[in-house]
């Protein structure tokens, strides 16, 4: 069976407060990186999935997000899938 690598990125929903981003921004600014603007701090989950197609891998990832990994009140996500060769 083919294997797909999926990279899931979860981030705060636009408009939701992101105190982590604000805290990181403050540190970077203090280090002298005045031109850097931190837009979001989130989480990354890297995984492999045994399934037949990339569409199926995306469906499985969406199910994981719905069931557990993403709180839709606060968070949104994006996923990239590619076959492992």
């Amino acid at each position: 069976m083919p294997v797909f690598r999926a990279e899931l990125a979860v981030r705060p929903r636009p408009g939701v407060k992101d105190p982590q981003a604000e805290a990181v921004q403050e540190s970077l600014t203090r280090l002298g990186h005045g031109g850097v603007a931190v837009h979001a701090v989130g989480r990354l989950l890297s995984m492999t999935i045994d399934c037949n197609t990339s569409e199926e891998a995306e469906r499985i990832t969406a199910a994981l997000c719905d069931q557990l990994l993403v709180n839709p009140n606060l968070e949104t996500y994006s996923v990239s899938v590619e076959e492992v060769v």
Partner: protein
């Protein structure tokens, strides 16, 4: 009549379980630790989810714990007439499990806060947890959390009827100053301050016992009319000592 049994669910990373067992004991429960990997026993009248950092709070606070068999059995406990209390991390777990609405996220401004706070009892869903706390009463309770900022996409109006306690001075950016939340039945209570750490006047406050005693009396079938001023708890609170 024997004391009602209270299971305090111990997750990997819990650290408030012994405090909660102790306080429930003071309030008249037969309280004992229960491993999160097993469903809560049917003979239990109350389940407590303690503070701490269950499963290291990995990914999102309370998320991993919310899938534990003990948590998944709580709906059955409530259906049998039991009560559920989630304190701090326990509140986060109840929200993640979908037993309470909304979400709890990082404090705003960011940072861990630990101090005494005052919360005000306001009109909300009737609940045995608040039978001994009249509307307008102010309770002194300690907080210790980094992710206590309550959020609901529908705004405060969407949860106001379920919010029995509001912070006098908001320590974490919580929507509408929400410090605690009830489910529709009033039987499930999530609370960010720690009532179990306010169960001894010599340690700063015994106000938390008022919540636990309300639960105890409701589960024992003691009518509200026969409770109140003359109880040892009220006396303790009034400064008469115990």
């Amino acid at each position: 009549m024997s004391d009602p049994r209270a299971a305090v669910i111990v997750f990997p990373g819990s650290n408030g379980d012994r405090d909660l067992i102790e306080a429930l004991g003071v309030a008249g429960f037969d309280a004992f630790p229960h491993p999160s990997g097993l469903p809560v026993p049917a003979a239990v009248a109350l389940a407590g989810l303690p503070g701490g950092f269950s499963f290291g709070d990995y990914w999102r606070a309370g998320m991993l714990a919310s899938q534990e068999p003990a948590v998944r059995s709580l709906g059955g406990l409530v259906a049998r007439g039991g009560l559920v209390l989630g304190v701090c991390n326990g509140f986060q777990i109840l929200v993640e499990a979908g037993l309470l609405p909304g979400a709890l996220s990082y404090n705003d401004p960011a940072g861990f806060r630990h101090r005494w706070v005052t919360v005000r009892r306001v009109v909300a869903t009737p609940s045995p947890w608040f039978d001994n706390v009249p509307e307008g009463a102010r309770l002194r309770l300690p907080i210790a959390h980094g992710e206590g900022c309550y959020f609901h996409p529908g705004g405060f109006a969407a949860v106001a009827p379920r919010a029995p306690l509001l912070y006098e001075e908001n320590p974490n950016g919580s929507l509408g100053d929400v410090a605690a939340l009830l489910d529709d039945t009033g039987r499930i209570l999530g609370i960010m301050p720690h009532p179990e750490r306010a169960s001894d006047r010599d340690l700063g406050s015994a106000d938390g016992l008022l919540l636990l005693s309300g639960a105890r009396e409701a589960l024992s079938g003691i009518p509200r009319s026969s409770r109140g001023r003359n109880s040892p708890l009220e006396a303790a609170r009034a400064g008469a000592g115990t």
